[in-house]
């Protein structure tokens, strides 16, 4: 359907497929159409709304904030809190637009800081993940800060999100985790993973779990170039490294979740 709107998508390289549900708000059901519930949901606004229960329902002390999405969450909070402040007689000006969220002033999403780090220390910039430009220094810092799983590194640094879908970065990062753990063992600290996993957990099993999780989102987009990529990845991990996924239970590999 997307390719009907954007024909180039048909021959493009689709990396993954995932789905999520999005709450939409429309006070009155649409009169006609083929959507769920008898209405055409395409016409429903994607905006958010503060539902004024005192006015609509005669409930004197209740407001709802509905619709919207993570991108607009601060604006949503502002809208509903402004309404409450007005009701409660609070006159303090709203600071949402000027208050910086914790962590927003530093981190890998800011270009200047990683570039300054690379200027100070060239090895910091060595790429571990070529697709998403994740550097050795970034992985080292996150591991030192307590991340012990490839999944955590992925969410924090975008490791494995790119076109090759973890063909090269995952085993490099797994190696760095193994080095860090072995250094931790030597100094007597880091005796346990976060979350209580024992320190002698096989690093290969952690990698296998990561690969199976990544596979879930790729399964429905395997054709063309991405089919070649998938078979190359298979030839690297299964063929050259002889990983067999025996440490990954079926429920961890089962395609039950999206994303």
């Amino acid at each position: 359907m997307c390719a009907q709107m954007v024909p180039a998508l048909a021959s493009g390289r689709v990396l993954r497929a995932f789905a999520g549900s999005r709450p939409l708000y429309q006070p009155e059901a649409p009169a006609s159409g083929d959507g769920e519930g008898g209405g055409d949901t395409r016409e429903v606004s994607r905006n958010f709304a503060v539902v004024d229960h005192p006015r609509l329902d005669g409930l004197d002390n209740m407001y709802s904030i509905v619709g919207g999405k993570l991108t607009t969450c601060r604006q949503m909070a502002e809208a509903v809190v402004d309404r409450l402040a007005e009701r409660m007689g609070v006159t303090e000006p709203c600071r949402t637009a000027t208050e910086v969220l914790p962590g927003a002033d530093h981190g890998p999403h800011r270009l200047a800081e990683p570039l300054a780090r690379v200027e100070r220390d060239y090895a910091y910039g060595e790429l571990i993940c070529e697709c998403e430009l994740v550097t050795r220094g970034q992985v080292r810092e996150e591991v030192a800060a307590g991340l012990t799983e490839l999944e955590d590194l992925r969410r924090k640094l975008r490791l494995g999100y790119g076109p090759c879908q973890a063909a090269f970065c995952a085993w490099r990062a797994a190696g760095m985790l193994a080095e860090a753990r072995s250094a931790g063992n030597g100094s007597g600290d880091g005796g346990h993973f976060q979350g209580g996993a024992p320190v002698d957990q096989d690093p290969v099993v952690g990698l296998e779990r990561f690969l199976e999780e990544r596979w879930r989102g790729q399964r429905s987009t395997i054709w063309g170039d991405q089919a070649r990529q998938a078979l190359l990845n298979h030839a690297i991990y299964r063929g050259t490294f002889d990983l067999r996924g025996e440490g990954v239970p079926d429920e961890a590999a089962a395609p039950t979740e999206g994303g």
């Binding site: 060595e126 490099r172 193994a178 290969v204 690297i236 590999a253």
Partner: protein
């Protein structure tokens, strides 16, 4: 343009076929889109590593257990033996001697500390005396993880004695901690260490190929050896990433282990495969010596037919498609992984050069399995051929009398899942060379 035989593809099957056909006296033109699996693989010769996921001990005997239509059944055991024997002679003459026995699989140490089943390995990956089989010490044969670290327990290639896993400081594609950790889980006495690199041109960071080129230099090796020896102190053998030289065969490996005073074993390392680059260079030199013409970076895109014969092959040129008339055409373009076959979004498959029939799937979800590390039906997709490697239609009739298919392009085998890529390549190259050597030039 004109050629006697055109070989399309420069992977394990195309390189071996072109070389053997030229040795048989044919005038060969090699057309290739780019590098093939020499650059992507483990740097060994897999003949038949696993059936149904279980390791195979005797690959040539196990062939009987393969399903009907497997390329090994089409070419027969003689072609497999001949292919492996030819490869051993060719690599030895090129300074890339291989160890191993076609009748007995061995294991190859990987960068992950796993022991992958294979058949022949380059000498730097073989281990000192690891190929000598010893009977398991208990009558029933203990499981792999419980074998004594001082013997290989009857598994050729399994590390013996005290093993130091040594990385070269700063090399991002190998982790000695990860490799040693997993070797210990298999009951091998392994420790992790790091060897400093002498001053060189890549202070910041470097690739395996850059390091291998540096190790080609005798002076660099002399400066590298003392640190390597210290890192491996007390060990019987040092397992290292497969980066010990790329342009001088196995000589840098032999020299460095002599300088360091400890046997060195190259672990199967991630792509690009440096042992594969050595092999590719050996093929390139041999093909040049045999006068084989070589067009690299120009994919074949079609054929021209003349009745039941292929009259010409069409390939991309610098500015336009060129047509090369030929007596014989050999396709060694690979399966889906090698770009010989395109997997389409609707579940169908398209052979890329001659539009040969390839059995597709009901839909694209049938291409693959639920588990990434399991098997994927797409890996076994390919072109059906007769006993003379000619592609056939649904009724088994050859589609062209002078068209042959070799290697990963063939239906009925999964090179990765069963560990048969190089074996099928060499066996079908042997067969095609025998068939076409006997064919008089029209």
């Amino acid at each position: 343009m004109r050629a006697d035989v055109v070989v399309v593809g420069a992977g394990p099957a195309g390189l071996a076929s072109a070389t053997r056909l030229a040795e048989a006296g044919r005038q060969v033109l090699l057309l290739a889109r780019g590098n093939g699996f020499t650059h992507w693989g483990a740097g060994a010769v897999d003949v038949l590593g696993r059936i149904g996921g279980e390791p195979v001990e005797r690959p040539l005997e196990a062939i009987d257990r393969l399903p009907e239509g497997h390329p090994y059944h089409l070419v027969g055991q003689d072609a497999i033996r001949d292919g492996l024997a030819w490869f051993s002679r060719f690599t030895e003459a090129a300074g890339l001697t291989h160890a191993g026995d076609p009748d007995r699989n061995r294991v190859q140490v990987t960068a992950f500390g796993t022991l992958r089943p294979t058949c022949l390995v380059p000498e730097p990956a073989a281990g000192p005396g690891w190929g000598i089989t010893e009977p398991p010490d208990a009558a029933s044969g203990p499981p792999v993880g419980e074998r004594s670290p001082t013997t290989n327990g009857g598994v050729p290639g399994r590390p013996q004695g005290r093993v130091a896993v040594v990385n070269f400081a700063g090399f991002r594609d190998f982790s000695s901690a990860l490799c040693a950790d997993h070797l210990r889980r298999a009951g091998i006495d392994a420790t992790a260490a790091s060897a400093p690199l002498p001053a060189w041109d890549h202070e910041r960071y470097f690739t395996g190929v850059e390091l291998a080129r540096a190790i080609d230099d005798a002076g660099f090796r002399r400066r590298l050896a003392p640190g390597l020896a210290r890192a491996a102190a007390g060990a019987d053998v040092a397992v290292v990433p497969a980066v010990l030289g790329v342009g001088r065969g196995h000589e840098p490996w032999a020299d460095l282990q002599s300088l360091a005073g400890v046997p060195l074993v190259e672990a199967a390392t991630a792509p690009p495969s440096i042992p594969g680059l050595r092999l590719f260079a050996a093929y390139q030199a041999r093909l040049e010596a045999l006068g084989v013409r070589w067009q690299f970076g120009f994919p074949a895109v079609g054929v021209e037919r003349d009745g039941d014969l292929i009259a010409a092959v069409r390939s991309e040129g610098a500015s336009r498609v060129q047509s090369t008339r030929c007596q014989e055409l050999v396709l060694a373009t690979g399966g889906v992984a090698g770009n010989g076959i395109e997997a389409n979004r609707d579940g169908t498959l398209t052979e890329q050069v001659a539009g040969l029939p390839v059995e597709g799937f009901a839909d694209r979800m049938a291409f693959i399995g639920d588990r990434f590390l399991g098997d994927h039906p797409l890996g076994a997709a390919g072109v059906r051929v007769d006993a003379e490697l000619r592609p056939v239609d649904a009724s088994g009739t050859p589609l062209a009398a002078n068209l042959r298919c070799v290697g990963g392009l063939l239906a009925g085998h999964d090179p990765t899942a069963e560990g048969s890529r190089e074996g099928v390549a060499l066996a079908t190259a042997s067969r095609v060379a025998a068939l076409l050597a006997a064919t008089p030039v029209r």
